[in-house]
Symmetry: C2
Subunit: 113 residues, 2 copies
Amino acid sequence: MASPKKERYSNEDILIARFAKALSHPARVSILKHLASLDTCCFNEISKVIPLADSTVSQHLTELQKAGLIQGSIEAPRIKYCINWKNWQLLRKVLSDFADMKISKYEKEFSEL
Amino acid sequence: MASPKKERYSNEDILIARFAKALSHPARVSILKHLASLDTCCFNEISKVIPLADSTVSQHLTELQKAGLIQGSIEAPRIKYCINWKNWQLLRKVLSDFADMKISKYEKEFSEL
DNA sequence: TTTGTATTTCGTAAAAATACGAAAATGAAA
DNA sequence: TTTCATTTTCGTATTTTTACGAAATACAAA
C-alpha cells in the first residue's frame, strides 16, 4: 500500500484511553476517591456526596463498572459498592508507565553517555 | 442547608478529570507517545501515523494544546509540535497520586498496626 | 508575483455523553 | 400482602465529541 496511515491503534493505547475516559468526569473521580477512603459504601452515601441526581449518579457508577474499576453487590435494601482492586492496579501500572514514558527515554539517553 | 449534597467538585478532581479527558482518545494517546519518542516533530509526521483525516488530527492536537500537554511553534512551512514538559510533570504527579490513593491508605493502616 | 506545500478553519453530520424526573424493580419489614 | 426505602431503568433533551472534505491561510520558493 502507498501510505502506512491506516494502522490501527495499539491495544495499549486503546487501554490507556479506556481507563482515562473512566476518569474523565469529576463526578467519577470523586466517586472513586470516596470509595477508596471508605473501602466500601452504598449507593445513597455516594449519591449524598455527588452534586447530581440519583439517576445520574447511577449512570456514572455503571460507567465505572463497565471500565472494571468498581463492583457492586446487593446488601439488604442497599447496593454496596467497592473498588475493583485488581483492575485498579492495572490502571495504576498502565497510566504510570505512560506518564513516565518521557522520563524513561531520558534515562536511556543518560545511560548511553 | 438541609443536605451537604450541593458541594462543588474539588479543584483537584476537576484537574484530574481534565487531564484524563485529554488522554481519553487513542489517537491522542498515540500522538503523545509519538511526540515523546521524537522529542519534537511536525504535523505531517504526526498525521502520517494517525489513521484519521488531517483536519481531525489537527482537532486532536488542539485538544492536547488546550489541556496544556503540547505546544506548537512555526518552523518554515511546517508547524513543529512538542510536549509541554512542565505540564506533563504535573499530569504525572496528579495522576499517580490519584492512582496511589488506595495504596497509601493501606500503608497508613499497616503503619498503625 | 505566482505557485506550491503545510496546516488550520469552516460547515456539517453522526454518535456519544451528560443530565433530569418519572416510573419500575427489588427486597425488607410491617 | 401491603408498604416502605433504595436503587436502577426509561424516555428524553441538551451538549459535546468525533469525523470528514472543502476552503482558507500562511509563508517559502520559484
